[in-house]
Symmetry: C2
């Protein structure tokens, strides 16, 4: 495997047959230029982002339903080999789609669902994308599996790398909170703390990818494969609704990749005849402290102006989102919107989801639920339409966000009379 | 629903038809006395523990496989109604069974699997039992859903209660660490802190159950229904192995209920013709600081001498385990064993599982993996036989256990040269 580059090797790739399943090429999202599958992420013609292009065979609902209860049931639609289940991986996905009766009633939405990705192996949707990146790293002959990250991605990469038995190096800012360090260091001896902010860590990762042979940085030089993992969220929503698309979906926006991939998944299912064609309004959710896409959406402009993030929703805090312009396109074209909320509203969103549906989400999920609420209040979301909101992570990872907002109703002596005085008897 | 009692109501129960599925009675584990299904847990004749008795219809693999990817695929084998999926619940279970190549190679076990229950809705196996208790509470007309707990059970009850929209009161010791309080308080306004230890909290719960009508304490007066939820771990292991029993299973022992129910599940599957009859050796795992069952096993005696727990494995710290004598019977009869390890070995077990399989477990899981290792080292476990080890919980809940044992390999300046000096380049 060669390092990050915009020039594909012209020699034989050395890939085994079917290494990437039904994927046939890399294709530039901007200019459409095509190149052979390899460890490339930027178009050699225009520097646009590369995506995976497929030639799908006929895929039936029955074939998918006969697959395992994880993302590999959709392996025919991903850039992975047909024998992917034989390679040790974390087996993420096929998480709960819960009918949200209580949250729906509270917000006045008739028909609401929560897609809950907090129950993935390392408790965020990142396990999906990392599983696809791991497969690409393996097929490309990578010697090292790596990422720069401040949280969920680090956990997912470190865990997947340990299970796969591949050398795994994870880069984090050195001022990261101890619990978050532990949650990655528990899996790997090769956690590297970098004196600098996330941007500095990211730049270092790009430098190493350029200098070293055989390093697969999941979100750098194997990013096209990695990003495809998010499509499985869209596939699962449709299958779990009974092979049907919802009317509206609310999705958090960090880089914007997840939103674009869920949209892509819906389009693929329509083209493959697995669901009926219908319009789906797609909504993006950001925290006000890092809302470059929402700002552009509201201003009616096409360009994203980068921001310096200042929000508790750290897993959404990407100030210059790579797929932001595509998010704008999709939300506008489908009749959706992009909205943002304050950090206090993020905290309220966390509690709202916990109290109504028994799901303890992290700040990213609090953002998405809070934005859902705001979309209703501002009349941007049609409450008579079937709606899905995506929860991407888990509350124990951002405990501090609500630690001061909840606690015991009473502290009592250990006897019945003391309990009666609390007024909690029925 | 009446309060906790050993005398069933003689009047009409008021239960709807099929409220408990194929369950037909409560049956005393000690004397075999039978009584009608109701909120009872102790035999009116001998005070022995009550269990659920069933009259199972024919159940096929195909019927189960056509069910949802959660414990309700086994609803015909549980004390729940046929329409259980219609009542809001957390939809736990059908968690990963991972082939543990790396852990097996490290320990010298040819064919090892990890059943990973850390990916349940509130990240422990307790979601299984609480889902069954919630159904019983609902069918019995309970007004309040409650439990005494110090951790995983509190999380599971508070989350399930919120989702079900039933008044939920959770009792904890007032000196419980703040993160554990938050992890329950986020779901409910009715968290009650009690000045005392867990035994004091438990006694208060029994007092309230006796005094108040309509309170369903999951682990007190609906315990027979609750405990049945653990059978689903056994069902899933067999189904996920391809409708086949393993040769050996290693299971943590707190009250001992889980171990007895996994054994019961295997026996039921054999009787129903869903798997071939074969011997399964069952092993119990305890921490030395709370090892009353292991001590009795090693001493070759039948009686359990209660202990005062002193171990970091708090979710296993039950000094007087209710099902301890049944654990002894099962482990002896099947040719298994009960073993215990030190707190340092518990910590090592956590790291061993994380580094080999990418699973971050809590202290209970560290205990089980550590005991697995010790069973191999002491020749008590046959390394040539197919073995399953059960992980019941998740590491973020007991982060302190390993927080001082792991960390960054290096802290560097944000440039490539500084990274090269770490020696981590390939």
């Amino acid at each position: 495997m060669s390092a990050v580059t915009t020039e594909p090797a012209t020699t034989d790739t050395g890939l085994r047959a079917g290494a990437f399943g039904n994927a046939v090429a890399l294709s530039c999202r901007e200019c459409g230029h095509r190149l052979d599958l390899g460890p490339f992420y930027a178009c050699p013609e225009c520097f646009g982002p590369l995506e995976i292009a497929y030639e799908f065979p006929t895929v039936t609902r029955e074939e998918i339903e006969a697959g395992p209860a994880n993302i590999w049931r959709y392996k025919a639609l991903l850039p992975v080999p047909a024998d992917i289940e034989q390679s040790p991986n974390t087996e993420p996905g096929f998480t709960r789609l819960l009918k949200a009766h209580n949250l729906g009633a509270t917000l006045g939405i008739d028909n609401l669902w929560v897609k809950d990705d907090s129950t993935n192996p390392t408790n965020s949707f990142k396990d999906r994308v990392v599983a696809c990146a791991l497969s690409a790293a393996r097929e490309l002959g990578a010697k090292v599996f790596a990422c720069p990250s401040t949280g969920n991605l680090a956990n997912a990469v470190a865990a997947a790398g340990a299970r796969a038995g591949i050398k795994t190096v994870v880069f984090i800012p050195s001022n990261l909170e101890k619990p978050k360090q532990v949650n990655s260091a528990v899996y790997t001896d090769s956690l590297v703390a970098v004196d600098g902010n996330y941007d500095d860590v990211n730049k270092l990762a790009q430098e190493i990818a350029a200098e070293e042979d055989g390093w697969a940085f999941v979100n750098v030089n194997v990013r096209p494969y990695y990003a495809e993992g998010s499509k499985t969220l869209g596939y699962e929503i449709a299958e779990q609704l009974g092979w049907r698309l919802p009317d509206q979906v609310v999705i958090p926006v960090a880089s914007g990749s997840q939103l674009t991939k869920v949209h892509k998944a819906f389009q693929e299912l329509i083209k493959l005849g697995l669901v009926e064609d219908k319009p789906v309004k797609i909504f993006g959710a950001q925290a006000t402290g890092c809302s470059p896409v929402s700002v552009a959406y509201k201003a009616g402009v096409d360009a994203i102006r980068p921001v310096k993030p200042d929000t508790i929703a750290k897993s959404l805090a990407i100030g210059n989102p790579a797929d932001g312009i595509y998010v704008l396109d999709i939300c506008r074209e489908t009749g959706g919107a992009v909205e943002d909320i304050t950090d206090d509203e993020v905290r309220e969103g966390i509690l709202l989801l916990a109290r109504t549906e028994g799901i303890f989400t992290e700040t990213a999920g609090g953002t998405t639920v809070g934005v859902l609420k705001k979309l209703v209040e501002t009349g941007q979301l049609d409450t008579s339409l079937e709606t899905v909101v995506i929860n991407t992570g888990m509350g124990l990872k951002t405990l501090d966000a609500v630690a001061d907002k909840v606690g015991p109703a009473a502290t009592i002596a250990p006897n019945y009379d003391a309990f009666v005085e609390t007024g909690l008897t029925s």
